[in-house]
């Protein structure tokens, strides 16, 4: 039996890493809901949640508890299996992307080199696209299985929005990949650490397009058409209650966290602490500063996401599609051609 012959230490290391990454993303997503309301309060000149615990810090726990104890309703005319499958898929795809993000450098513990990355696969960033394109099904299946017109409309909107913006996202990324010459996120980070500038300096337009598309992919305002309350009631999760609703809302925050981490990795040097030479630090300190740097960048980006949500009004649906197909895609193509020309010119 060659299935028993695998490297057990390796398997355990990866298991522990997966458990840590998933629990950290859950906690961050939980507190992102709190941060979102605090930021909203700050921007709208009010307090935000401040009743549960000091500064309202226990608010996410209270909300979670409330969702768990709510009555679970499955509508009579819904498709039961798919109705349950929808939120599960949304949560699963939100989690799966975290597998290829390098959370930090390499460290030696007990004679083993431990990489703070679950899998450094050859196709790297393409894996993210694969998972993101799967994420549409959570919304579509959930919306369709609810057997409700508003949900169905929202599901179709969500899916077409996701597909449209995926294209521009891919195109903006091609330009970046021309410069790095590698799909592996680990290599991309290492290139940015070793003396060069961060990728945002070389690819400002690419970063802008990628960022807008990330907003659209996460269904965040101003692109939150799938859940536009004023026209679609609650959007695709209208029929959901209890923790199934919680899963949908939670998946959105996990998606936001993961996509901020990916933007930080691709464009802002990943776990590279600015103005510090990591090679001079000892193993553990270098690792911890790296992790802290990545999380710092991610949190700043999350704050920008929230800032945009609470200051910009929502697009109309035709405006959204026009921006995607007639604005971002030609811009991304232009960026790609210019980058290719410059890369070719400097290579000679």
């Amino acid at each position: 039996m060659n299935i028993l012959a695998l490297d057990w230490a390796f398997a355990i290391e990866k298991m522990v890493l997966i458990a840590i990454v998933i629990s950290v993303s859950l906690v961050i997503a939980m507190y992102a809901t709190y941060a979102e309301r605090k930021v909203a309060g700050f921007i709208q000149d009010r307090h935000g949640p401040n009743r549960a615990g000091p500064f309202g810090l226990l608010q996410p726990l209270a909300d979670g508890l409330k969702l768990f104890f709510k009555e679970e309703v499955i509508p009579n005319h819904s498709n039961k299996w798919l109705f349950v499958l929808g939120p599960c898929l949304a949560m699963l795809t939100a989690m799966m992307t975290s597998a290829i993000i390098p959370w930090g450098g390499t460290v030696e513990i007990g004679g083993r080199m431990i990489d703070l990355q679950i899998a450094d696969i050859n196709i790297g960033i393409l894996y993210v696209f694969g998972v993101v394109s799967m994420g549409v099904y959570g919304i579509m299946i959930g919306g369709w299985a609810s057997n409700n017109k508003f949900s169905l409309m929202a599901a179709l909107r969500g899916a077409s929005q996701a597909i449209s913006y995926e294209l521009a996202m891919g195109l903006s990324l091609i330009a970046l990949l021309m410069l790095t010459g590698s799909l592996s996120l680990k290599t991309i980070v290492e290139q940015q650490i070793s003396g060069n500038w961060w990728n945002i300096v070389y690819q400002p337009l690419g970063f802008f397009i990628f960022f807008v598309c990330a907003l659209a992919e996460c269904n965040r305002a101003p692109f939150d058409l799938p859940e536009a309350e004023s026209e679609l009631n609650m959007g695709y999760h209208q029929e959901y209650s209890s923790m199934k609703l919680g899963f949908f809302l939670f998946a959105e925050y996990i998606n936001m966290f993961i996509s901020c981490a990916i933007i930080a990795t691709l464009f802002f040097g990943g776990y590279d602490m600015p103005f510090v030479d990591e090679t001079k630090l000892s193993g553990m300190t270098a690792l911890l500063t790296g992790v802290a740097a990545l999380f710092g960048k991610t949190f700043i980006l999350i704050f920008v996401f929230m800032w945009i949500r609470w200051t910009l009004p929502r697009f109309r649906y035709d405006q959204l599609m026009n921006l995607g197909w007639k604005g971002l895609i030609p811009l991304a193509l232009l960026n790609m051609v210019v980058t290719a020309a410059i890369a070719l010119y400097t290579m000679k």
Binding site: F129, G130, S133
Partner: protein, 160 residues
């Protein structure tokens, strides 16, 4: 071990595509089939093919299928195919397709070749890119022109 698991999964879900009553279920089973085929690609160390299969087929084309089925709301129509002669013709043409495929594959010699498990390098992205843009650049460009013309055709029909 993994191979058998994936094979059973692929064949089982492919059968479910045909036998499910609800067209939306059929589509979801088809997505499962694509995933198991991608699993086979990964076993052959063709990671790029695997992920492109997921992105393009499972991620994009199936979403469009799902769109159409959801919009047309086909649930209530139980079985559209009532004519038994039509079923008969379908079975015959399916069997003859199987026959032709087996006949074509019998003499290709791939059966004798050992499949490179986990060691083949051709599926990795830089090798694939080199082969595609050096040895097969003309067929590649021609097929992309074909795609472009299909897109233009779709737009022209859509404008009517």
């Amino acid at each position: 071990m993994l191979f058998w698991f994936l094979t059973v999964m692929a064949l089982g879900s492919a059968l479910m595509v045909v036998f499910s009553k609800n067209p939306v279920h059929s589509i979801l089973w088809l997505i499962v089939t694509f995933f198991s085929i991608s699993g086979h690609y990964v076993l052959l160390n063709a990671q790029f093919l695997a992920i492109v299969n997921i992105i393009v087929y499972a991620g994009a084309i199936m979403v469009l299928f799902l769109f159409v089925v959801m919009m047309m709301n086909l649930n209530d129509i139980s079985s559209p195919l009532k004519n038994k002669w039509l079923k008969f013709a379908g079975v015959i043409s399916g069997c003859s397709l199987l026959l032709v495929l087996i006949a074509a594959l019998k003499d290709t010699g791939t059966m004798q070749q050992e499949v490179l498990l986990n060691t083949g390098k051709i599926g990795l992205i830089n090798n694939l890119g080199t082969v595609l843009f050096k040895d097969y650049v003309l067929p590649f460009e021609i097929s992309s022109v074909l795609f472009l013309s299909a897109m233009v055709g779709a737009v022209v029909i859509g404008k009517k």
